[in-house]
Every structure is written in structure tokens, then in C-alpha cells.
Symmetry: C2
Subunit: 436 residues, 2 copies
């Protein structure tokens, strides 16, 4: 019978890794998770498929077009496109069973049917944390999030990264003070500063019909520079008579002070008055994080404070602050830029290679090693010794134990360091000591 | 503005846990993963959404009806319904980049649009391992899988469980020997033994038109009992002149011998000649695992040997052996049966409670503890001390540190054991020692 073969392939826009890369990816995910847990965040895991009515309660916008939505029987369902809407739904649904402030982390896949392009994914992992208060939430939480970003990226192996901070109230208040009532398009223009430069922003503001004088004010405002303390002093010196503006400065000053108290080095956080981060969601502190040596990667971790998480599901006022790492995209970019390499990625410490006929002894030794939590594989196929060593080599397994007639007779086994080529003849107890 | 609220809820057939239960669930998943890695299995992670053409290459059957299949634009896509088809596709697709035997584990969600009923899920985690050979694969691998099942369930906290084994070749060979050419419906009847009892099986076989004498032979065959060695001896004593039958006995004897060498206690594995496990997939060794005290849970871990993994995608012959734990269902059943409880589930070791105004010192101490990898949360909201203690209590956080005026003055902080109520006054260094 000659079956027609189907070409094995996946859809464009989906990331799939070789095992060596997957090990690296999982290590990053484990590091992120460990840091989230160390700071007292609780895990949740929500369905990938939700009722469209619930998931798309907010409706409209670019997001809805990208949603994977379909019917099964009469049920209209959609795949989640972020972890924030599921959080809002979760907190509203289990409100009476949760303790507030509710600190949750969520690491999971989300789906967006975007136009496929390099570095953009239709399925990707988000690693989110949020602290959700009931009615109120201390501003100090806004400083703990950056300290967790710092702790996480530090443990991921980065030294040179900067968490840029701002407070939406400052810019919004300043625009109010300038009597610019429709702030949304102006904020949208400012948000493009990184992409289009100050001249570009100026041009966009002109198109909006702003007067030259106003544009100059905005332009010099978002370019205020200096140390964090200097920026705050300059903002105060502007002597702006607007409550929102002044609340924003006060909040930002508190957040900056506490980030320092949380032990984040001065070089790793910085006020940037042009950071806006979207338009209708964040209401106070906002963050973006850049790797200093790879600015082209864009923000690798973003977030901020919002006044009310779940207005579509509950009347409870649920203010919160959170951030998200887009792990799939981050991993892809780090791999592309050769910042991380899979060359030496192995979970297994040792491969036991028995000569043909010595499998029983191999099993016995594997039992001993595994009982000591040494990650061990046995090569159980028959074949040439060279091929077996090649297997260990290709899988980057650092050690090999060879078992043959002489070894069994003397109860001494050859331990080979695959990197250096060094070989030693050892009793089982010594093998364990060496490999631990 | 009075928005219409949408009732926050999820679709039936999807499991969603409280954080306390989620912690337990994750612990089980971590234990499974650790054991899989300890035995030298490599991680992979495939897309949840695949091309329908690829995922459903095999076509037909009950499974296809349950698949979540939909179009986005012109693309016909489906959600994966198991991790085996994606493995077959993965191995075929990356064949030249993989080393064989390819040992992979995969823990991920799969989707089946089953009719919703208690204990049945439409989204559930599978935890799969498979060892895939290129052209050939040693029979000793069939013994290593049960030793990994043993190691995993032991570490999950179970002592009394039994891995039931059989070899499909034995029964198939025996039916050949009885000149029963169409073995599929007979195997299907035997597969129901657990559900319908021996009389039920007899009845089904009569309906198939088998002669009384043949039925008696089958019935006494599948009821052969005794120790593993005794069963194998009885099978040999039947003196059946059929090659498949005798190969099966030989394989089963080797597997049984090696399971013992792998250190699995005799009470935890047992030959059961009635185990069939489906019809068109497994070709040799088959496993099912039951918790001795909870047989009604059904098999909690099943698997077996197959001749050829990926006939729909490649002409390469890829024999393999593997098993799967259906974690979502297992967790649900253990929770329902009160075998696992969330009462004491906390990841956080200590909650720091500052009196209002002492937040800075709380942050300072949190830094110290976190630097020592002590999982620490700070209660940052203002409020009554009683409420703050209640928070620690409800989240099952085992320790609380209180920081107030006296504490700061004396640089001695109150450490409260939330279970015993015991309180001690300690310097920061002593706090760290105590909590580590």
C-alpha cells in the first residue's frame, strides 16, 4: 500500500525550536517564574479558549480583527490574545475567593492572527505579573515592579539594561495646563518619538493644528533631561498649576525613591518623559525596558499602573499595576543577534554507554546515579562505540561512562569528560562524587 | 456612563483553579518534568494550532469529530488533540537535525470538543514521553518507561500503584493460532473486560459468532494468573505454534526482567493479559497504571510500543515506545477524592507586615531576604494589623515579620510562626537563618 505522504510543516508565524534551543528557552522561562514567585506572586492558568462574548466584551480596535474566533456547534469562542483580559475576567469571577492585594503571575501562550512577518508571532508566550488592589493600591507597588524587572533580567544574564519610567498624569496634566483638550492624538504623536525622532513628532503636532509656541513647549517638555532627581526638580520648577500634573510628579518622585530603596542600581532606571504606552489603559506609572547594547530590540518588558482593571465585568473598582515580558519575541531576537547560543545546552549530565552485552550493568549504574539526582541517560542500542560517543557529542552531554568487559571485571568504569577528552577510571561511588 | 456588564465566566469543560490549587497542580507538573529530565528526555514545545491538512492527515474516526477546526482567511487550521500527532510531524520535519534514539518529553495543553460531562475536559494537559528510534529500537527501552513511571508516581507521593503490562503480539498471535483472522472486533471485546466483566466479554464474543470452544479458550487465556514469572511459564506451556505469539512472550519476558533490574519493586508491576489499549496504534508492549486504592480513577498513565510513528509524513521507519499522563484529569480526580488538599499550599515563605509608616524598613528587609532566595512578600497597604495577619493566614503563608517603632529602634524584628503562633524577636541575620 503506497500512502500519499503529507509534507510535515507548521503554519507561518509559529515558533518551534530544536530541543537544544528549547532547553535555553525553558531556562529563561524558569528564571522568570522563579523571580515572580520569589516576590510573592501566585500562579494562575486560564483557558486558552474563552467565550467570545466575555473575551471581546471591550470590543472594537485592531485587536479584535486579529482574534482567532470560531464556532463549535452554537458556541462562539475565541482564543485569548493577551493575559490581561483573562485576568480581569478571573478577578471578577472569583472576587469573593481572592485576597487583595491579589498578586498573580501568569505565563502562557496567547494568539494573534497578525499578518505574518519576520520576528512577529501568531502564537507567543507572555509572562505577566499584576498586583490588583480592592478599591486602593499603594504607590509603593509601582516601585516593586521595576525591582522585580531588575532582579529578573539580572538573573537572565543581563547587566546593561535600563527601565525607563514615566507617569501618564504628568503629560496629561501638562496638556490640560496648555488647554489642549483632546490629548489622545497628541499623546499618540509623542509615543512615536523613538521611531520618528523629535522633528517627526513636531511635524505630526503641526498636522494636528497646534500652534508653534505650544509645539515648542511640548517639544522642550518631553526633552527634559538629567538625573532622575534633576528631572523631577525641573518638572517642579515649571510651576504648572494643574492638580493632575502635580499628583503625577509626586507619584513619580515616590516611585523613584522606592526603586532606590528596593536596591535597583541607579544606572538601571531612568525617567523618560516621552514614554506614553498606549492610550486608554494606563493611568499613572508606565515602564519600558531596553537592553542598552541592543536598542533595536525595542522594549523587552513593559507595563504600568491602571485605575480600574475590570470595568466590563464588575462594578468593583480594581486598581492595579503590572508588567509583561514577551518571551517568544525576546528569545527569537536574542537568538537572531547571537546573544544566546544553544551550543552547550544539555539537561543530561551523563550518558552511559555499555558495550554490546553489558546493558545490565549500565542499568544498574544508571539506577545509582538517578537515585542521587544525577540526570542520566543510557545508550541502549547496539552499534559501534564511535557512533555512541558521537551521540553524546551532538547532544552536548558533558560526561560519558563506558562499560565493557574490563570495567565490569575490575568494577572500575571509565568516565570521559567530553569537552576536555580527559578520561578517568573510577569506582561507582567515585563516579557519583565526580558527577554531583 | 453606565456600561452593561458582561457576566465573567468560562466555557464548560475547561478547568480553572484557585491560586492555592494551581500551586499544587504546578508542583505535580514540576515533579513530572523533573523525572522526565532526570531520565534524559529532551523538551519540545509545538504550536497549539496546526494546519488541518497536516494534523488530520490520518483522518476519520471519533477524534476528528472532536477537533476544534476553523478558518482564518483561507487557512484551514485545527487545535492539536494530542501530543502524538505533533511528535510524528516534528520528528519527520526535523529528521535530519535530530539524534536517534530521540527521547523527547512534551507537557502541554490539548483540545477535544467532547460532549461536556463531569471529569471530562475539553482542554487538558498531557505529559508525554517517547523514545523514537531510527529503523530499530532496543526492547530494553520498553522496560525503562515503567521505571520512569515508577520514579514519577513515587515522587508524586504514591506508594500503592500497579503498572500493568502486556504485549499485543501475544494475544494477536494467539488469535492467529486459533485461526481467527479478523482479530480487531475480538480485541475490542477483550478490551472491555474491566468494564463488563468476563461474562460480558463471553457474550460479546458469542455475538461475533465464535464457537463455544474458542470462546472458552480465549476466556481462560486472558484469565491466566500468577506471579509474572508464573504467567510467562504458563504462556510457554501452552506450546502455541505461532511466531508472533512466541516473539511476544520473549519480549515480555525481557521487559519484565529489565523492569526488575531498573529497581522497580515487584509489587508495582504486573502482567495482565487482557490489556489491549486501542487497536490500530500499539504493536508490542502496552502499559496501564492504576492507583491500587482508587481503581475507579481508571488508568492514570498509559502507553506502549509502536512499530512506526509517522507513516503519514515520512517513509522513514520510526519505531518507538512512550507513555502519557493525563495531568488535568488526574489532578481533578485526586482533588475530588480529597487525596490532595490545598490547605497548606503557599510558595511564599514570609510576609513582611510594616506598621503604617514603616514601609521603608520593610523594603530593606525584603531585599535582604530575597537576596538569600527566601520567597518574600511585603504587605504594602495601610490598614489594621489584624487584617494584615488575616491576609497571611488566608494565603497559608507560614511566617510573618512585623515591623514597627520598637522593632526599628531595637533592630530586632518579630517573627511569627503562623501555624503554632510562636513569636520570636530576632535580628535580621537571625531572621535569615531561621527562614532558610
Amino acid at each position: 500500500m503506497n500512502k500519499r505522504l503529507v509534507k510535515p510543516s507548521i503554519l507561518p508565524g509559529f515558533m518551534e525550536l530544536t530541543p537544544a534551543d528549547q532547553i535555553l528557552f525553558n531556562k529563561m522561562m524558569d528564571t522568570i517564574r522563579k523571580n515572580y514567585e520569589k516576590f510573592g506572586f501566585l500562579p494562575i492558568d486560564t483557558p486558552v479558549i474563552e467565550k467570545s462574548e466575555v473575551l471581546l466584551a471591550k470590543g472594537g480596535g485592531e485587536t479584535e480583527k486579529q482574534v482567532y474566533r470560531f464556532k463549535k456547534g452554537n458556541t462562539d469562542m475565541s482564543l485569548r490574545f493577551d493575559l490581561t483580559v483573562p485576568l480581569a475576567r478571573y478577578v471578577s469571577q472569583y472576587y469573593s475567593q481572592l485576597e487583595f492585594p491579589f498578586r498573580r503571575y501568569h505565563i502562557g501562550k496567547v494568539y494573534r492572527g497578525e499578518r505574518s512577518q519576520r520576528g512577529r508571532f501568531r502564537e507567543f508566550y507572555q509572562c505577566d505579573i499584576d498586583i490588583v488592589g480592592n478599591e486602593k493600591l499603594s504607590i509603593i507597588n509601582d516601585a516593586e515592579i521595576p525591582s522585580l524587572i531588575y532582579s529578573t533580567f539580572k538573573e537572565l544574564g543581563f547587566d546593561d539594561f535600563t527601565i525607563y519610567l514615566n507617569n501618564r498624569k504628568i503629560l496629561t496634566g501638562y496638556l490640560e495646563f496648555l488647554n489642549l483638550e483632546d490629548s489622545a492624538p497628541i499623546l499618540r504623536a509623542i509615543d512615536k518619538l523613538e521611531k520618528i525622532g523629535p522633528e517627526g513628532v513636531e511635524e505630526e503636532l503641526m498636522k494636528l493644528g497646534l500652534e508653534k509656541e505650544t509645539i515648542d513647549k511640548i517639544n522642550s517638555f518631553i526633552r527634559i533631561e538629567g538625573s532622575n532627581d534633576e528631572i523631577i526638580q525641573q518638572l517642579k520648577d515649571l510651576d504648572v498649576d494643574n492638580e493632575l500634573f502635580n499628583t503625577g510628579i509626586e507619584e513619580l518622585a515616590t516611585v523613584i525613591k522606592y526603586i532606590g530603596l528596593f536596591g535597583v542600581p541607579k544606572k538601571n532606571y531612568k525617567i523618560s518623559l516621552s514614554i506614553v504606552r498606549g492610550l486608554d489603559y494606563y493611568t499613572g506609572t508606565v515602564y519600558e525596558t531596553f537592553l542598552d547594547d541592543y536598542p533595536s530590540l525595542g522594549s523587552v518588558c513593559s507595563g504600568g499602573r491602571y485605575d480600574d482593571l475590570a470595568t466590563y465585568y464588575t462594578k468593583q473598582k480594581l486598581p492595579g499595576v503590572g508588567m509583561s515580558i514577551g518571551l517568544t519575541r525576546l528569545f527569537y531576537q536574542l537568538r537572531e543577534a547571537n546573544i544566546i547560543k544553544a551550543d552547550e545546552s544539555s539537561l543530561t549530565t551523563v550518558l552511559i554507554i555499555p558495550m554490546d552485552g553489558f546493558e545490565e550493568k549500565a542499568v544498574e549504574i544508571a539506577n545509582r546515579l538517578r537515585a542521587e539526582d544525577i540526570y542520566t541517560q543510557i545508550y541502549l542500542e547496539t552499534g559501534k562505540i564511535k557512533k555512541k560517543f558521537g551521540y553524546a557529542d551532538k547532544l552536548n552531554i558533558p560526561y560519558v561512562i563506558v562499560i565493557g568487559e574490563d570495567e565490569v571485571k575490575n568494577d572500575q568504569y571509565t568516565l570521559r569528560n567530553m569537552k576536555t577528552g580527559e578520561q578517568r577510571s573510577l569506582a561507582v561511588e567515585e563516579l557519583i562524587k565526580c558527577l554531583k
